[in-house]
């Protein structure tokens, strides 16, 4: 399996992949015009001056053993909210006390804000269900950290990831039913889709602008604030393992948590090393992610190996797959902090 920069020729494969994606993955809707734009943006980002405002990188997971079939996608935005406002709710606390009548009340509040404006974002993660095995999910998600480690000047120092919130098998979000529906008069999936295709101005137009006391929401809605969908739990655990933390920011539609980590503190960024690719016919050891350090044709593979003082042993096949020559440098990190 190979992670590589997206190419214009990936369009058809991506449309197929996108139509398999469900409600909640707002950044990968099955919309031709938007997909075309995303691919073009990623290609343009490679040539752009190193500024977070110019960065919109997308990578694909290719099954290189089966004629280059694209089975997954992931992306990183250098800096969000610079053209359209980026909305989140902040979960805050309001304490009301009166000594005179002996009352102490603590209420949670939701403040609409744009506090995450400017942050880099991990986005667009999607892996075909058949390929959700053998560490492909980890590779797809974490490969981005080697790119961040290699090109930090192209990304904001604050890195965020939006986690899908709780909804039932029909796409019904209890948070939406209790709050958003009153203001948007539409289904959650419709609002989610509109956001996904970049029609965000309706949020400013329709959203409650004043803080909301969660006491006025349904019990089910309160219970899911800051909680992820069961399907997203593995992704959350994985990113927490990399150092990401929930900091009281939640999605305005489904109340899923936004987690964040300073770029240099991400485990796979901090622990990654630059090593020399050392050809060996056979290698063994723990599982490493290995990247080719190239901006224009970035590639990442997994390898069972262990670094030596002479460099990182890699098979010639793997070296070829990375598009490098023996003796070139690579950036590598253990796939997981636990192995």
């Amino acid at each position: 399996m190979l992670i590589r920069s997206i190419r214009t020729t990936d369009f058809d494969a991506l449309m197929t992949l996108a139509s398999d994606s469900g409600v909640g993955v707002t950044t990968l809707p099955a919309n031709e015009e938007r997909l075309t734009r995303r691919i073009a943006a990623s290609v343009a980002s490679q040539a752009a001056a190193p500024d977070p405002a110019n960065s919109s990188f997308v990578f694909v997971l290719e099954n290189d053993e089966q004629a280059g079939q694209v089975v997954g996608i992931c992306g990183i935005e250098g800096s969000v909210g610079l053209t359209e406002p980026w909305y989140t709710y902040r979960v805050g606390t309001a304490v009301h006390t009166s000594r005179e009548i002996g009352v102490y009340r603590r209420l949670d509040t939701l403040f609409l804000n744009n506090d995450l404006t400017g942050a880099a974002e991990l986005c667009s993660l999607f892996l075909h269900p058949e390929w959700r095995r053998d560490g492909n999910g980890s590779l797809l998600s974490k490969s981005r950290f080697l790119f961040l480690a290699e090109f930090p000047e192209r990304f904001d120092r604050r890195v965020i990831a939006e986690m899908r919130g709780v909804s039932d098998e029909n796409g019904r979000s209890p948070f939406w039913e209790s709050l958003g529906r009153h203001f948007f008069k539409m289904d959650f999936s419709e609002a989610d889709y509109l956001t996904g295709i970049g029609q965000k101005s309706f949020i400013a137009e329709l959203m409650p602008q004043h803080p909301v006391y969660t006491a006025f929401l349904s019990d089910e809605a309160r219970a899911v604030i800051g909680k992820v969908h069961d399907n997203t739990l593995p992704a959350l655990v994985m990113l927490e393992g990399e150092g990401f933390r929930y900091n009281n920011s939640v999605d305005i539609f489904d109340a899923g948590p936004t987690i964040e980590c300073p770029l240099p503190d991400i485990r796979a960024v901090r622990d990654s090393q630059v090593l020399t690719a050392k050809p060996e016919d056979e290698t063994q050891g723990r599982t490493w992610m290995v990247a080719n350090r190239r901006l224009d044709d970035f590639r990442v593979c997994l390898a069972q190996t262990e670094p030596t003082p002479m460099g990182l042993p890699l098979t010639p096949a793997l070296i070829a797959k990375l598009g490098i020559a023996p003796g070139d440098s690579v950036r590598a990190v253990l796939l997981s902090s636990k192995n």
Binding site: A94, H96, T97, S98, E100, I101, V103, R105, L107, T109, S178, L179, H182, F183, F184, K185, M186, L194, Q199, S201, F202, E205, L206, M207, P208, Q209, H210, P211, V212, Y213, A215, F216, L217
Partner: protein
């Protein structure tokens, strides 16, 4: 015959009986002897003082059955609502959330805590014996205050407000309170009404929501209770809406009952009242609300009598009961 007059300290036992009988939502009439005595004393002091601009004065009136000497009603005027501490209301706000692109145009209602009515003159503490409800004597109890205001306008604000009790359940709990206030106060509706009557309203600033409450998020029965009048407040509500008071913009922060308001000069009994001289005699067809113009001995009643632009003809009994002599000026308004 019934006569309304400014209260004296000797009225205290009778006022206490009426307070005990009054519904719990009349926060301005608590069953606390000290508080009630304070209200009477404040009224006595206010009447004695020379006032150039309305301040912390308040006026307390009782209605007496002149045959038995029994008190049958009470009512009060607070010259400036919220003189020492703000007077809180929820303002009904409408936010328009429109997205032309999506063809959506929503009106979202919200309740904002406000002090808009602070400094207005407040009609308060209204209660009459149940037997007198919807009679001319309940009109007297409420409207004699308006003649008092018409007579001494420098003692009052340009706008007058009055809080109507909101709806409660048979057990005395309030659906509006349970969905709204309780979340911030954590105590029962009866308790908060008691604290308000006895401890003042300082704690409201400490406990009330600082941000508008979106109405669609409130419980259905709380939404239904907004602006609804408790059956116990039907009498003052009926009297005051007849006087031109409006109910749309403000509701009570505790029970959601409407807070009525009207520009002072537009109040019917103020606008239509006039000063006439007293003549002695019997007969006449008109029903008149009539009040003396003596601040040291304010009395009012309802009479059926003949009146024109300059004179009203009153029977000997009325003259006696109101302490009037022929030639005195009185203020009258059509009943």
């Amino acid at each position: 015959m019934f006569v309304l007059r400014s209260s004296r300290m000797s009225d205290l036992p009778g006022v206490e009986l009426l307070a005990r009988e009054s519904p719990v939502g009349v926060t301005s009439l608590p069953e606390s002897r000290d508080t009630l005595a304070g209200k009477i004393q404040s009224s006595i002091d206010s009447l004695a003082a020379d006032i150039g601009f309305h301040g912390e004065e308040s006026y307390f009136f009782v209605q007496e059955d002149t045959d038995s000497g029994e008190l049958v009603g009470v009512s009060a005027i607070v010259a400036s609502a919220g003189f020492n501490e703000p007077f809180y209301s929820y303002r009904n706000e409408t936010f328009i959330h429109a997205s032309p692109g999506l063809g959506i145009h929503n009106k979202i209602h919200a309740l904002s805590l406000c002090h808009d009515l602070t400094g207005n003159t407040l009609l308060a503490s209204f209660h009459v014996r149940p037997a007198l409800r919807f009679s001319r004597w309940s009109d007297l109890q409420s409207r004699a205050r308006l003649l008092f205001i018409a007579q001494w306008p420098e003692r009052f604000a340009d706008s007058v407000v009055s809080e109507m009790m909101g709806v409660t359940r048979p057990d005395g709990s309030s659906p509006f309170w349970d969905s709204v206030g309780r979340r911030f106060f954590g105590i029962d509706y009866q308790d908060v009404e008691y604290h308000c009557g006895v401890n003042g309203r300082k704690f409201i600033a400490e406990l009330m929501p600082h941000h508008p409450l979106y109405v669609p998020l409130l419980a259905d029965d709380a939404q239904a209770a907004m602006g609804q009048v408790n059956p116990d407040s039907e009498v003052p509500y009926e009297v005051l809406t007849r006087e031109g008071f409006e109910a749309e913009n403000y509701i009570d922060i505790f029970d959601g009952g409407p807070t009525l308001h009207c520009a002072t000069r537009a109040i019917r009994s103020v606008a239509q009242s006039r000063l006439v001289q007293v003549a002695a005699g019997e007969g006449g067809q008109g029903d008149w609300l009539l009040a003396t113009t003596r601040r040291d001995d304010f009395r009012a009643t309802v009479v059926t009598a003949a009146a024109d632009g300059e004179r009203i003809t009153l029977s000997r009994e009325v003259l006696d009961r109101l302490g009037l002599s022929v030639g005195d000026l009185v203020r009258i308004a059509p009943l």
